[in-house]
Subunit: 270 residues, 2 copies
């Protein structure tokens, strides 16, 4: 999926919602445990219930990896099930030296056929470049993350510029707005203006709305650009709204609340 197609989907659905599939076997409704693949069953129902309200799904790989081979099978099936008009985004936060980064890119882009994958920048250009070599795929680089630990290093200043700005500024030269996004946490809305000065046109993947306390309005105010330029993720706030048999209806309601807000916010630009 390219930049224009992503924007077209945003306009069509009036939404820039990304649904995080952080599917934890211990948190899904108990009745699903009778299915052969409860994780996939849960994801399928969540996707069915929300696919017209969002433009991306983001499984966090940790949740699948913790289940070994069977988790990996659930992940594969989930990614296959994501409809074509939704970006499939593997939240993997991988990063390794060149020849190894190439294996990760192969794993996510070729083998699992994801549209996008999150990548950690600490190891620099050769840890990111192999991902950028794929056509019509997205590399989502950790810029300013949503968690408390983002304070530990990302705000270190070097010649008046914080590390996260260096990371975004330098790495935006490695790819283009057509193949690179940045993770920028909703918990830092005050920094979106700075980030937009560096990458006015790039898409930003924004976690931290909902369970982590970020505000959609503030993110939109400081982050929207003329092609929307935002994918706002909610995981726990959507998928764990109910632990009963109505869980997928409840997820739809939660997604709908966000989509309606997004629809209003999009009127400013579309």
């Amino acid at each position: 999926m390219n930049y224009q197609q992503l924007f077209d989907n945003i306009r069509k659905k009036n939404s820039f919602l990304c649904v995080g599939l952080d599917t934890d076997i211990n948190r899904i409704p108990k009745h699903l445990l009778n299915f052969e693949d409860p994780i996939f069953e849960f994801n399928k129902k969540i996707i069915d219930a929300t696919a017209d309200l969002c433009v991306a799904y983001k499984p966090n790989i940790a949740f699948y990896e913790s289940l070994g081979e069977s988790g990996w099978a659930s992940l594969r099936k989930t990614l296959e099930y994501i409809p074509d008009d939704c970006l499939s985004l593997a939240d993997a936060k991988r990063g390794d030296i060149g020849n190894t980064a190439r294996m990760y890119a192969d794993a996510f882009f070729n083998k699992l056929n994801c549209d996008a994958v999150t990548v950690a920048p600490y190891m620099g250009i050769d840890s990111v470049q192999p991902f950028l070599e794929f056509e019509n795929k997205w590399t989502v680089i950790l810029g300013l993350t949503s968690n408390k630990g983002s304070q530990d290093f990302q705000f270190l200043k070097s010649s008046e510029k914080e590390l996260y700005k260096h990371v975004i500024s330098v790495s935006s030269q490695w790819g283009t707005k057509e193949n690179t996004m940045y993770v920028v946490g909703a918990t830092h809305p005050e920094y979106f203006d700075n980030i937009r000065q560096i990458v006015p046109d790039h898409f930003l993947l924004v976690p931290g709305v909902g369970a982590q306390g970020g505000s959609l309005e503030k993110v939109a105010k400081h982050g929207l650009n003329q092609h929307c330029g935002l994918l706002v993720n909610s995981s726990r706030g959507i998928i764990y709204k109910s632990s009963g048999e109505d869980f997928s209806d409840a997820s739809r309601e939660a997604a709908k609340v966000l989509q309606i807000q997004m629809s209003e916010l999009l009127k400013k630009i579309v």
Copy 2:
């Protein structure tokens, strides 16, 4: 495996060699492709041939992940096969927000029962802490990596201190020398003195000897401490010495060359 046990193994074997199991299905000897699990078959033979010469095995997870469920099965079997007197070190370079980092820690320490896992520091304390909560397990934090891209961010200076020094200095307060190691590339021997000033007693996991051009002598000169404090990894330089049926004998010879050098270097401290 704790600090003392690791050091005891180093003394017993006169080696601080870590063998990297970057096992690529396209690079293993062709006759192994007839086996049900060629990757595991290859690793088993390499382990049999080198276990008395090294103190750690380090499978890089990318190589397994790129094969999906079957790769994950090969990884699991390989980790089970690593003898008790060798550290099993998953080179995963994971890093995510707290609740997700916990899933990764569970995946590697509980489910796969590794002794150690490599972790990326960019996201700060809550991305590392969940790994440190396990007893007798090791968290190996990326400090100064061996690749060219390490120049992109790791040397950024903030108040006279480069990022990698901040990372090592700050994160050394999160754990102890009993549960934390650092990745420090052999391609930067001139910086080992600086790093030893910050963490004199910690073990350093050193990639980059061999294929990447680092020197064992220089690493030892600047990095050895009184408990050795080094695990020097070689992957491609050992496991791909031959692509014939003699591949495991060839791997043993390559490991033996390094072990003999290490034995000499260890005389200075033991």
